[in-house]
Symmetry: C2
Amino acid sequence: MKLILLSGGSGKRLWPLSNESRSKQFLKLLKKDDGDYESMLQRVYSQIRYCMPKADVIISTGAKQKDSILNQLGHAVTILEEPSRRNTFPAILLSAAYLIFEQQTSLDEPVVILPVDPYAEIEYFETLRQMAQAVEQGTFPLVLMGIAPSYPSEKYGYIVPASSVHADSPTQVRSFVEKPSASVAEELIASGALWNGGVFACRLSYLAQHLHKNLNCSSFLDVMTQYDQLESTSFDYAVVEHETCIGMLPYHGYWRDLGTWNTLTGEMKDASMGRAILGEGAENTFVVNELSTPIVALGTKNLIIAASPDGILVSDLGKSSYMKPYVEHLGDTPMFEERRWGEYRIVEHTRQDDAETITKQALVHCGKTISFEHGISHKKIWILTMGRANIEIDGVCHCACAGDSFQIAPFQKHSLHALTEVSLLSVEFMESD
Amino acid sequence: MKLILLSGGSGKRLWPLSNESRSKQFLKLLKKDDGDYESMLQRVYSQIRYCMPKADVIISTGAKQKDSILNQLGHAVTILEEPSRRNTFPAILLSAAYLIFEQQTSLDEPVVILPVDPYAEIEYFETLRQMAQAVEQGTFPLVLMGIAPSYPSEKYGYIVPASSVHADSPTQVRSFVEKPSASVAEELIASGALWNGGVFACRLSYLAQHLHKNLNCSSFLDVMTQYDQLESTSFDYAVVEHETCIGMLPYHGYWRDLGTWNTLTGEMKDASMGRAILGEGAENTFVVNELSTPIVALGTKNLIIAASPDGILVSDLGKSSYMKPYVEHLGDTPMFEERRWGEYRIVEHTRQDDAETITKQALVHCGKTISFEHGISHKKIWILTMGRANIEIDGVCHCACAGDSFQIAPFQKHSLHALTEVSLLSVEFMESD
């Protein structure tokens, strides 16, 4: 059994913590039993490993998220970097191509495709296994997961079954209804319809057919190079809606789309994370603080206060989903990014006349390496402010410790290998004439 | 006529903008007609200059505030640095000693003493002039200002007149009542009592008597060196309460003590300062943002959001005066300080084992100089990130521009003279073994 996880949705719905390079699935906001925090991605991955210790996991994602996934999961999963961000249909065919051409997976193998960030109980993952079994039994070439609705939502799609739903065997799907009004949603729920959770199971052969129908290919590279010719559309639209024989298995457990501060704070075990003081009269107030600057809240009610180097949000919990137009054009350069070697934030950015200076503070994890194989086009100064590292500049190696600084000329090859946890100040001088 | 301005009150009532080195009177939050912002100190000083273009102004203050005053007013005023922070009685006698011994001011000269931060109309300053005239007329050796109360406050002192008050000539004071209950305050107001605004006028001889009664001195230096022997008490307690013949002149105009966010936001002309977006549903919400990070507020009501490198406050306007216990022990090292040459903030502070690294970003104004005559006890790196400066290290002068960096060894004398507006990154490496 193969699992394809789709990691998309870079965006600002959880601004200022989420940005162009850090999507909501990477935010470490969920408290584990041991007191540590994990991201939605890490939670889903550990649930998969608990239920299906041997399942092969492929994560399909864009270039910008690759480093975050590596940073959070290491090399335990296969990460497929989509040549460009399109939609779920091309992304799923790319993963199929990888299984077919690179892994030589049997075309009979069941494949289950799911989003990377469902917040659900372990039974959700048991249901994935059932879906794979249902595919192997062969009644339906395509099996979907139906999620028992907890309220008549207007923002989800509904799967209408042809007959009453059983937990153990798939029910034929009659039709789909996308984002109905609340009253229609109520009727749908009364008639037994379930939410469409965007989870699909089929044999690899099923995906192979769609792949060859859309592309003339005989290798994974073929698919990579022709990726932009695949229609940028959803798998639902391109495949599911045209399929006449679809089965559905239900999941009745807890499920949340933690896509807004309102829903996310509902799952936070503590009212605050990071440096925060909830003082006199603070009620139903949540603080998520990624800055080293302390936050004090007094007399606040039903509020989310979220702070990162990108910005500070202070919002009524119910209003936080309206933030998009306000934050859309705020600083398109993320002030904070996760990298496979650690993370960095921009601490200063000055512009004067034609000159521009950016000062970054990077944290490089022990044993990790930052490398600029071909140098960069401008002058740079590195200062080690904590820890020890081997720094190589134009082939000359230096054993560096806190207090050492290095001038790096334009196009000089340079790298840093951290021997301990390292804090590095990097000052870059650009001239734009 | 001499004016003595008392600049005290370092504290955190306007945290996070005010801190140990930056008191509320230095915050540039008041919008001028030309659109620029000024501090309470700058506003008071320009009002004084408007009313009394030739009055000599002395500001008595502690070491920590001296740089802020120089930065905001330049050398237009005499700044007296109190040897230690005590109270208004010793501070006023120190200023008197300066006038007597250093300026050889005539003992007949009227002196008016006032706090540095009243938020009042120009008539307030006209009243100061009237007070000086009343002192010269000689009926009362001591004349106070009575401020027409706008509500029965429990936090001010009240001056009870012996007869009905006239605007043009001083009325004899019958008694004082300190911080009465609201009901007593109502009675006091009904009977014609006014608030005590902490403004005193007398001849210099009056202060000289008190000086010589308390200290054996014949020079300003005598008073400086014996300063700690003066009782740390208020001028009200040590002098006013024992005086039997006191006059009062009333001020009927607008007057506010802008000591809390609630009162201060009442005088802000715009709902936000700095990078701030007040979005959907934000009502009676004020944002004061000194960070470069943007703040977005959504659906917030009756809120002050204030952010500086020291911290972020999110408070119900009515609750902001309760913050003291929460912020008292937060970071006693200010993350931001104003200096006579400009300002700096701490952008990074790391500690590991015995090593400590502090990275500061300083803005040095054109023409100003930072100087470390005897060096400092630890290693330092300077990087110019914007502008041009002359940097001298151990007697060697360098013409530096953006991109240049300098290693400064322990105890090496070093200085920077800014030839343009300069942005400087200073990284200091301390070892505490």
